[in-house]
C-alpha cells in the first residue's frame, strides 16, 4: 500500500507527471482575475477569498483525471484489482497521493497569491487554516468522481461536471469561513462543517469509489 503511495508520488514528480502543474494553474488562474476584472485594489480584495477558493478547486479538478485513467489505460488497474491489495486501500492511497501532490502545495502557495489579490492582512491565517481543512475533501471527492468515469474515454469534462456540484458545500463553507475570519466575525460553524465534510468524505468515499471501480472493470 505504501508502495503504491510512493509510486504515485514518484510518477507525479517525473517528467510530464503533473506535479507543480496544479500549482502553476492555480497561479495563472488567479493572475487572470485582474486581467478580466480590472486592476482595482479594493474590489480585488473583496473578492479575493472567493477567488482563491475557486481557483484552488479548479486546479484540483484539472488533475483528477490522472488519478485512475492512466492506470486504467495501461492495464495497471486490472492488475491491481487482482493483486492482494484491497481496492479500498488503493483508492485511499491514490486520494492521499493526490492531496500530497496538489492540495498541500496549493495550501503553501495560497498566501503568496493572496498578496497579488490584495487580500486583507487578517485573512492569511484563516486562508491557510481553511485550505488545510478543506482541500483533503477536494481530493477524496475528486477520486470518487474519477472512479465513476474511469471507463469513459477522455472523461475529463464529464468528470468536471460530476464533481463540481459535489464541491459546492466545501467551497461555500470554506469561502464563508475565510471571509468571516478575515472580517473578525465568528466562523466556528462553517469551519466545523468544512472539517466535518472532509472527515466524512475520507471515512466513506473510498468504499463507494472502490465499488465504482469494480463495476467499471467488469
Amino acid at each position: 500500500m505504501i508502495a503504491l503511495l510512493v509510486r504515485d508520488i514518484r510518477l507525479a514528480m517525473r517528467a510530464g507527471g503533473g506535479f507543480g502543474l496544479g500549482l502553476a494553474f492555480f497561479l495563472i488562474a488567479v493572475m487572470l482575475v485582474p486581467f478580466g476584472v480590472g486592476p482595482e485594489g479594493g474590489l480585488l480584495g473583496t473578492i479575493a477569498p472567493g477567488i482563491l477558493w475557486i481557483a484552488a478547486l479548479l486546479a484540483c479538478l484539472l488533475s483528477l483525471d490522472r488519478i485512475f485513467t492512466l492506470d486504467y489505460e495501461d492495464g495497471t488497474l486490472d492488475l491491481l484489482a487482482t493483486s492482494p491489495l484491497p481496492m479500498e486501500g488503493v483508492v485511499a492511497m491514490k486520494a492521499l497521493a493526490h492531496w500530497l501532490t496538489t492540495g498541500l502545495p496549493l495550501t503553501i502557495a495560497a498566501p503568496v497569491l493572496g498578496l497579488l489579490l490584495n487580500l486583507p492582512e487578517s485573512a492569511y491565517y484563516w486562508l491557510v487554516v481553511t485550505f488545510l481543512l478543506g482541500t483533503p475533501a477536494l481530493s477524496f471527492i475528486g477520486t470518487f468522481g474519477a472512479a465513476l468515469t474511469v471507463g469513459v474515454k477522455r472523461g475529463g469534462l464529464l468528470l468536471s461536471l460530476l464533481v463540481l456540484p459535489l464541491y459546492i458545500p466545501s467551497l461555500t463553507f470554506g469561502a464563508e469561513a475565510l471571509r468571516r475570519g478575515a472580517e473578525g466575525m465568528a466562523n466556528t460553524v462553517p469551519l466545523l462543517m468544512l472539517a466535518g465534510i472532509t472527515l466524512g468524505t475520507i471515512a466513506l468515499l473510498p468504499f463507494v469509489a472502490a465499488q465504482a471501480i469494480r463495476i467499471n472493470l467488469r
Partner: protein, 229 residues
Amino acid sequence: MELEVADLACARGGVLVLEGVNFRLEAGEALMLRGPNGIGKTTLLRTLAGLQPPLAGRIDMPDEALAYGAHADGLKSTLTALENLRFWARVHGAGEGEIGRALDEFNLADLAERPAHSLSAGQKRRLGLARLLLTGRAIWALDEPTVSLDVESVRLFARAVERHLARGGMALMATHIDLGLAARALDLTPFRADPDRAGKAGAGKDSAGGAGKAARPPEDPFSGAEDLA
C-alpha cells in the same frame, strides 16, 4: 491445489458469450485456450481473474492464487524497467532477489535502467511477463502472452512456463501460435453461447422466476421479443 471450472457462463458488454464451460487443471498442468477471434478467450480469462462476475457456474480455486496477464502490460512509461518490477514486487511482497531472478529469466538485465517508454514492443512485453514471477502465484492466466515476441524470446518464455509448471504451478493461456509446450488444448468453439436460447427461454411461459437449472445463466429479462409493439 487445483482449478476446477464447472458450467461457467460469461458475458461481455451485457452479451452472453460463453456457456457451459467445463475444465479442470491440476498442479503442474498447462492448458491452451484456442478458438477463433471473438470466441471469448479474453472474456473467460477476465472472469477467472475475478474482474467480472460469472453469470452462472462455479470456479473452484484457492483465494489469491491467480496471476492475470492481460493484453496490456501495466507498465508505467516514465519509470525504468527495474522500478516497474520493484513496484509489483512490493505489492506482492516479493524480495529483491526475486526481482533479479525475474530480470535474468527474461534477459532484461541490460534494460533494467531504461525507462519503459523507450523499450520496443517486444522488450515491453518481456518486462510485462517478468512481473508474473514476482506475484508468487500458482495459476498464471495469460492473454496472448507472446504478442510481439521474437523467436528467441518465445523460447525464453516457454522455458519460464516449464519451470513454473515444474514447481507445481499451473498455466492457462490464450494464444494463436504454438509454443512447443507439452500442454492440453481447450477449444472454446463448442461453448459459444447459443444466441437463440435466451430468446426462446424468455418467450416461454415460466420466465418469471428464472429458477431453472442452477447452472443456466439467468435470463436476460429484456430478451423476450414478443410484445415489442
